[in-house]
């Protein structure tokens, strides 16, 4: 029965006496789009930090394709095929947009300690970088210094960088924050396309996006998953209505 690519059991995280994660159980299936919703302070970002290796859990297990990854380094987890974006834009602000994406692409080609070839001469990397630029509609901005772009453009860049490693699992932390309606629409469509055949876990506050994009939704409240199910199931769930959505949100 277990087709989960990422499975989390009894995950706990405390900061001093404060327990942020209070026994989270969650499964991400191989090719599903899974949204994580919950009120502010529920621990959504902390959960992302634990999965991606930014933080080590206090207890519990995180399995990626059956392998325990809890407490491993971010780079080790990334190399297994899990990439993430950040809630607060996390790019190389003084480098060009092209350079930002190229740095992300290089890793997949095994280029790290290489100082004997010239990067500009690597056609494969250049083409893949240009493909990603086109995908997130930033071709015209290739030579722009990333930190000087509009906030929503930086969010798009962040998505391109996350996709660069061709990951099996993508974690997106509020990718549409600060975007206009048109940009949100485009980005939602983009996420739908690029996550075809991959697993996506997304934290997002725009409920239209959440309900139209996701195959399943989990609701996180005070460090515990109180419900997981299809959008319809979540809409009809009484506990969720009470804890989070409120009557007026659910149609």
């Amino acid at each position: 029965m277990n087709d989960a690519i990422l499975s989390i059991r009894g995950l706990r995280k405390s900061f001093g006496p404060t327990e942020i994660m209070r026994g989270v159980d969650l499964e991400l299936r191989g090719a599903e789009r899974h949204a994580l919703i919950g009120p502010n302070g529920a621990g959504k970002s902390t959960l992302f930090h634990l999965i991606s290796g930014h933080l080590a859990p206090s207890a519990g297990e995180i399995r990626f394709e059956g392998q325990q990854i809890a407490g491993r380094t971010p780079q080790a987890i990334n190399r297994l095929g899990l990439a993430r974006s950040f809630q607060i834009t996390n790019i190389f602000p003084k480098l060009t947009v092209f350079e930002n994406i190229r740095l992300a692409v290089m890793r997949l080609h095994g280029l790290q300690y290489n100082f004997w070839t010239f990067i500009d001469r690597d056609r494969g990397i250049r083409e893949q970088t240009e493909r990603l630029l086109e995908l997130v509609r930033l071709q015209a901005r290739a030579a722009t210094v990333a930190g000087e772009m509009a906030y929503s453009e930086q969010r798009s860049l962040e998505i391109a960088m996350t996709l660069a490693s061709d990951p099996k699992v993508i974690l997106l932390d509020e990718p549409m924050a600060g975007m206009s309606t048109e940009e949100t629409h485009y980005t939602a469509q983009l996420i739908r396309e690029v996550t075809q055949g991959r697993a996506l876990m997304i934290v997002e506050h725009d409920m239209d996006v959440v309900f139209s994009l996701s195959d399943r939704i989990s609701v996180l409240v005070y460090g515990q998953v109180i419900a997981t199910g299809t959008p319809e199931e979540i809409r009809g769930n009484a506990a969720v209505k009470e804890a989070y959505l409120g009557e007026e949100v659910a149609p």
Partner: protein, 439 residues
């Protein structure tokens, strides 16, 4: 077609520069040629340092350690095999490079465990460790007398003259700086900028940030080792004073005065400061004070360093036509000149008034009398108003010119934003925009 790694224009400039440096011995006296060797070595050391500091964003306060390790590695390589040398003389810097690389990898493994202030403190501690250990290890570092050696003839050259040493140094510096430039075009070179900008993000892109940092550190130490090696080849001796913190400080100052954002900035800064040190140290006893003042002024008024001046001028030219910039530049240069003349005058007078010689002389005088001072071929009375009126007038007129230059710049900017307001341009952001990280 393969994309060009170095543009034709840059290549032409580099070739011209190399040709000029190669022609230098025909224009210089023996003494100046010796100074030129020191300038080249300092330029390479600063370029090596900037790989770590400017490109990777890791501020090391102890780079003298790697320079010194390269120096001692070389002196022992020269004395090995009964004085015949481990390597032929022209290849000796390889010994310095190897020692710098190995020691840099070890020290870098520790230092790059942390970043920012903690990294700086670890580099400082490692340098201090070597500095305090060196006098005790007489076998290795030769005690106070140091270790001396001889350059051996090789490849049909005797390396007996300054001229031959100059060309050997020049060749190694050009090749090393060239390699350091090409390095910036490699995957690791691009990741080095990534380390500076956001090492946290690199980690989540799958990179081993500690491994990268350690490798950059080791490479920087390797080139510093080559610089140390060249100094030993030139001096035919090595002394543990190379581990002195003053050398670590000098390379930081030179690098920043030159400008960390431009590839050749640190080399330029180091060459200029070494030259000034050479030229001025005979004229004044306050050279270190001037060096410090210069550093503070550069950091306050042009944080992008001397090399940043080129960029600023280019941006001004882009915005305004030449006819309006020339008076501005003339005013600024005039202000700088008057201010430095006034400042130098005041410092030199004060230095003489407070010197021990003068104090002793003053004590011999009847009470309250201040004997005249010799300065610039004239006698000045320290107690006379006229004496201090000279620097005061220089400083005041310099400040006036600086004020005028400022006003003019503001008027230009206002005029531009007024005319561009309709076109919806943002001159202020364009002025602030400083594209870094591409050098």
């Amino acid at each position: 077609m393969r994309p060009a790694i170095v543009s034709l224009r840059a290549l032409a400039l580099a070739a011209t520069g190399a040709a000029l440096l190669a022609a230098l011995p025909f224009l210089l006296t023996q003494g100046l040629l010796n100074a030129a060797i020191q300038m080249l070595i300092a330029a390479l050391f600063a370029s090596a340092y900037n790989l770590l500091c400017g490109q990777a964003g890791m501020l090391s306060f102890g780079h003298a350690a790697y320079f010194g390790v390269g120096a001692f590695g070389t002196v022992h390589a020269m004395n090995a095999v009964g004085g015949a040398g481990l390597l032929p003389t022209p290849l000796l810097p390889l010994a310095g490079a190897a020692c710098g690389l190995v020691f840099g990898a070890i020290a870098g493994w520790f230092a790059t465990q942390r970043s920012g202030t903690y990294f700086a403190m670890i580099t400082l501690a490692i340098a201090e460790l070597v500095h305090s250990l060196a006098p005790h290890l007489k076998g290795l570092f030769g005690g106070e007398a140091g270790v001396s050696t001889m350059r051996m003839p090789a490849w049909g050259l005797d390396f007996g003259s300054t001229l031959q040493v100059y060309y050997l140094t020049l060749a190694w510096v050009l090749v090393s700086v060239g390699l350091l430039y090409l390095y910036t075009r490699t995957p690791l070179g691009r990741l080095t900028f990534g380390l500076r900008e956001n090492s946290h993000r690199l980690r989540f892109l799958g990179y081993n940030v500690h491994g990268l940092g350690m490798l950059v550190f080791a490479l920087s130490a390797m080139f510093a080792g080559i610089a140390g090696s060249l100094q030993v080849v030139s001096n035919e001796s090595a002394n543990y004073v190379v581990f002195d913190p003053a050398l670590s400080a000098a390379v930081v100052l030179n690098t920043y005065i030159g400008g960390v954002k431009v590839f050749l900035g640190p080399a330029l800064g180091a060459a200029l400061m070494t030259f000034f040190g050479y030229a001025v140290s005979d004229l004044t006893q306050s050279w270190l004070l001037y060096q410090g003042i210069l550093f503070v002024l550069v950091m306050m008024f042009m944080p992008s360093g001397l090399a940043g001046l080129g960029g600023t001028t280019a941006r001004l030219r882009q915005r305004f036509d030449l006819a309006r910039i020339v008076p501005l530049v003339a005013l600024s240069v005039g202000a700088a000149l008057l201010l430095s003349l006034g400042g130098t005058f005041a410092i030199e007078m004060l230095q003489r008034v407070f010197s021990q010689d003068y104090r002793a002389m003053a004590r011999l005088q009847p009470a309250g009398a201040w004997p005249p001072l010799q300065f610039l071929g004239r006698a000045w009375l320290p107690a006379a108003f006229a004496t201090w009126a000279v620097p005061a007038a220089l400083l005041a007129s310099g400040a006036w010119l600086a004020h005028l230059a400022r006003q003019r710049l503001r008027a230009l900017a206002d005029a531009e934003s007024a005319s561009a307001a309709g076109a919806n341009a943002h001159p202020s952001t364009r002025l602030a925009a400083h594209p870094g990280g591409t050098a």
